[in-house]
Symmetry: C2
């Protein structure tokens, strides 16, 4: 078969496979937003079947033949679109075929049961009940890493590469080292400053008005409701792609800034998905580059826009329009400061911008040690609690609020956590590049978000998986990823908010 014929067959095949995955995504979305409880059993079986059909297609022997024919074709190699698609499909195919069926089945079964065990153990704050499951999961993921890794690659690196192509523990260490020291130092410096008032966060506001308000904000950001939806779910998320991107969020009677932050965060993910190139739908070039890059888009809108003084200049009148007298007491400055309260805490998902990454670093260091066999599972709680005292200055009262708080390890997500911090670093570096190209503060203060969105679309979204994340970063910002823009940003903002030096 000629290279061009193989390429056409390959693309047609993966586009069909992507329909199965988008159908699964819709079924999962429905499960989290509206499915009646009675639908759970059938839904699990539908998703398992569609997952199996996807895996069958990903490992279809024809895939290997097509990929081989494409790789041997010089015309394809010279076409940047085809070359990138072939490279990424080769990567996906290799990953799918390297794992023996028995291991895949054992992982699926163990992860499903471990999640239930974790949920029960967390409720009772009983680490001992979860420890054997964590041990089994580690053992299976060591095997998984051994199947995936190149001869010189470490296990953790092989697993992290699934989420952030090219990421290594060594590179992570280079970013984390300055980050840790300076975040701890910042935390200590802010403790001596003036904590902002809780202000608007304490005010009970009608949930329908909160929903109208956050819809207005993400509409202004450019989230396209003709190609997407916003619904409610227990935990906010974003799913779908291109013409049908679905966000969820949640509301409390008070804490309107939490609803706003969550919604802007998910809308940032959503703008990425809506900004992928339609012409390449169903192929890697219309898929997100990495989880770290995805997270950078959510954190950019949530933090660099949504927690900026300029944003509140625009948003304060909008808030008043939606909530009337209840919001009138709060000035632009009040709202901006309240949105930037720093509070070292026990729980990652509730953490602020200045301490969030300390939570992530703790997890990364511990999972590297767990996977390498340097930290016995039984020692995890003590190591966790020590790190929290050390990094965040807080005492962990129980494992429920300690090493049992996150679902990730019970789902087999080892090597996933760093993508949260990479998202923050990428976001700050993109924000700095944006500020060089555009008068960002002026635009945000006027609610003119379109130029920001267009910049991100052109420099990030439009490329899909065309470049690996490290290369995308250099192309978009002119430099390799560094922690400096993030640290400079935090320092600038929080010394102003807390009125310290």
């Amino acid at each position: 078969m000629s290279g061009s014929k193989a390429y056409a067959a390959l693309i047609e095949f993966v586009q069909q496979t992507s329909l199965l995955s988008s159908a699964s995504a819709l079924l999962s979305w429905d499960q989290e937003t509206g499915m009646p409880p009675g639908g759970g059993d059938a839904r699990a079986r539908q998703l398992a079947l569609l997952g199996r059909l996807q895996h069958e297609r990903q490992t279809d022997p024809r895939m290997a033949d097509w990929l081989q024919a494409c790789a041997a074709d010089e015309t394809l190699a010279a076409d940047p679109v085809a070359a990138a698609n072939v490279r990424e499909l080769q990567r996906d195919h290799a990953r799918a075929t390297k794992l023996p069926g028995a291991l895949v089945a054992a992982l699926a079964e163990t992860e499903s049961r471990a999640q239930q065990a974790w949920a029960e153990a967390r409720t009772r704050s009983d680490f001992a009940a979860f420890a054997p499951w964590l041990q089994k999961l580690l053992h299976l993921h060591q095997q998984k890493a051994d199947c995936l890794r190149a001869p010189t690659q470490s296990r953790w690196d092989a697993l992290a590469d699934l989420f952030e192509p090219g990421l290594t523990a060594a590179a992570l260490h280079r970013w984390f080292l300055p980050l840790r020291a300076r975040l701890v130092e910042l935390r200590q410096r802010l403790a001596a400053g003036t904590r902002p008032a809780d202000g608007i966060q304490q005010v009970a506001l009608p949930q329908p008005a909160q929903e109208a308000f956050v819809r207005a904000v993400i509409g202004a950001m450019g989230f396209d409701f003709q190609r997407g939806r916003l619904d409610r779910s227990a935990h906010p998320f974003c799913t779908g792609t291109l013409g049908d991107v679905r966000l969820t969020t949640r509301f409390h009677d008070a804490l309107v800034l939490d609803a706003l932050g969550s919604t802007m965060h998910e809308a940032g993910h959503g703008l990425y998905e809506q900004g992928l190139p339609e012409a390449h739908a169903g192929t890697p070039l219309a898929e997100a580059c990495s989880l770290g890059i995805h997270e950078s888009q959510s954190r950019f809108w949530e933090n660099h826009v949504g927690r900026s003084r300029a944003f509140w200049h625009w948003c304060q009148p909008l808030l008043q329009r939606h909530f009337g007298a209840a919001a009138a007491a709060f000035s632009t400055d009040d709202l901006w400061r309240t949105a930037n309260i720093v509070e070292p805490s026990l729980i990652r998902v509730e953490a602020d911008e200045a301490t969030y990454d300390l939570h992530v670093m703790i997890r990364c260091e511990l999972e590297v040690a767990l996977l390498a066999g340097d930290l016995p599972v039984g020692d995890l709680p003590a190591a966790w609690n020590r790190a929290y005292a050390d990094y965040l200055g807080v005492q962990v009262p129980d494992d429920r609020r300690g090493c049992l708080q996150d679902v990730h390890w019970s789902c087999g997500l080892f090597g996933y956590f760093p993508t949260y911090t990479l998202g923050n670093l990428y976001a700050a570096q993109f924000a700095a590049a944006l500020q060089r190209d555009l008068p960002v503060d002026d635009l945000v203060a006027r609610g003119e978000f379109a130029p920001l969105r267009s910049w991100l679309q052109a420099h990030v979204h439009a490329h899909g998986r065309r470049y690996p994340p490290a290369e995308l970063c250099v192309r978009a910002t002119g430099s390799p990823l560094s922690a400096e823009p993030f640290l400079a940003y935090l320092d600038r903002k929080f010394t102003a908010v807390y009125q310290v030096r």
Copy 2:
């Protein structure tokens, strides 16, 4: 392979296939209720792919082997559950394999394009623009019928059998003959009576209150919201099965009885789906018996319950509770009479109980003639208009309100229309049997619907496709289907409402 092994493999296989079909149903539901416009293209491709995968499974050569092994096994033949499943799966498999792939593709393509042509032709009331499509569809359905039919079976009978197993034009004629004469006679008699006032139908009521009201009614009927949902869509429908049954309805600012009727109708379908036997999920024994039987369940709740005097005795206070002063002016009798206004009209979907079946009969007679080649396509509008003058006494002003009003033929649904009338006949016969067994009016007047639902569950829902519809009717009611119970019911009710003899 032994019969029992083949049966186990067969059941496992069809249960998996049913997961694809329930996944498709959810995707279609989402398309009608919440999908953003931008999702349309991908959704069409997802549904086409899932449809193809289902068809591949239905025609899988292993199916034939398993079915053959099962048919040869005497133990299976003696087991009523297995025997019924094998019989019905044999039926489905034969149907799926009898049609050549090229014909299936031509039908799908032509129906898809004909629907668009029909929608445009209807908007412009331009039958000539649709005529060539109808001609093509007839030609293809004649071929389809020739593939499906037994040597002595007519084409129309072969197509109708897809929707109502065992139905023949000859049997239909035997029901229709008395029906037509007496419905026309009833229509004329009522014209001399006292037309009820429009009453509550003219009152604008807030749509959220209408929704709360209809939810209360179908909740009282026993629709289980833990295993189902109610949403809005342009055209009401019911989809899903067992643990996840989804109804849709619609609201206008006035016309609350239309919203109620539509919702009770769909909830009747929904109770059937929720009442199918869970133990047989994914097999024919947990599927509806026929479209006629399905329609009987919707019409029973919509008409025999929802338009009865007893129902309004219970419902009038409920209406007041939901709408307050706006509803207080209407007595039980006012509401009951308004719910039973008879008005010969042009449009089937807006027709009342006493004239609806005249619309259906016109379509059945015309499609039998079209398929047999006795009526040239070009003569359809004139024949249609003549029949409307003759049966309903109305003049058809244009084809938009005439032979272009229904989507069915453009979708290739030939032989489908009679199931609407069969639904009315079955419903009346079930209602008569129920009245012999239970004090139906007393129960309904107290809002005690559970015994009615239980009767229907035991006599209809629990059987799935275990018996063909004609046999189910005899088992449930003691007699073969007849038009008499329906005619007696109409006569009894409408002479009272219209105060005629």
